[in-house]
Symmetry: C2
Subunit: 150 residues, 2 copies
DNA sequence: GTCGTTGCAAAACGTTTGCACACCG
DNA sequence: CGGTGTGCAAACGTTTTGCAACGAC
């Protein structure tokens, strides 16, 4: 089991996940390996995952390789990461474009619409010429439940 | 050298930094120690600092104590921390209320006005009852200089 | 004198590096 | 076959923990 995961993320329009990967790698003179397919597949299946969680799902791939692969996949533009707390970063498919909202008290993570930061992005751009990276972005605070429980 | 730092942060209105600290500690049955005064003093003097940088400024205090003290000072509400990059967190006096804007490319950190996030805070609150913590907040992206250099 | 607090040593945690072998193209 | 990619082991930077001694109140 394991060879047949058919996540139909409509990435670049044409082609499956692996085809995207192969294309991007070839364009840079890099190689398509089973490990790279497996790690990308795991990220797509998990949605949000730390390097360690990915390692648990693909035990046959060494953790070192997972770190190196995630870095590569991020350069290629197939995955992204964000820091959702004090621990390890969380990786996800690049197509999942959203802003993370994390409760300091209960640790719950909610995905919010990227448009949430549009006003801020606009202001940073016009006032400072700063281009905000919406994906690498976490908002902390207290969720309704935790606020009420206090 | 060292004993005379007179940072007149108008904290709770009355009293000096140490008086604030002593009051807050006593209210919880905790003790005012030289180490706690020194660490708070260092944070106020440095403005932004990692635990290690604080340790360099107050070498007679053990790093372990610095970690424990920063945690305590944050609970008490006298300091705050934010994550400005992949490394160690940065601590600052609680009175310094601002939002951090960090360039991914050159690493430069700019302090922005807290009102920058007001629209987002308002929306999160009305739509989800979420109370945003403005101080623990970092915005990543690319600054004008780095964007132009590309 | 009590009990909160400290320093030291060691462990834990997440990540990176060096190197010989494996295998994609 | 050549050079990229992998696994293993070890180093690394940061933070936490356990414990005996210390000192604020």
């Amino acid at each position: 089991m394991g060879a047949m995961d058919a996540h139909q993320h409509s990435t670049t329009g044409t082609g499956t996940a692996t085809a995207d990967l192969a294309r991007q790698l070839r364009a840079r003179g890099l190689r398509l390996t089973p490990q790279r397919e497996q790690v990308l597949s795991a990220v797509r299946a998990l949605g949000h995952a730390t390097p360690e969680q990915i390692g648990e799902r693909v035990p046959e791939v060494d953790l070192t390789t997972i770190y190196r692969t995630l870095e590569l996949l991020e350069e290629i533009g197939l995955v992204r990461h964000a820091h959702l707390g004090h621990g390890a970063p969380s990786y996800r498919p690049a197509e999942d474009d959203h802003v993370h909202v994390v409760c300091h008290t209960c640790g719950k993570v909610v995905d919010a619409d990227p448009s949430l930061v549009d006003a801020m992005a606009e202001r940073l751009h016009s006032e400072r010429g700063f281009l905000l990276d919406r994906s690498h972005f976490t908002v902390f605070g207290r969720c309704r439940e935790c606020a009420e429980a206090e």
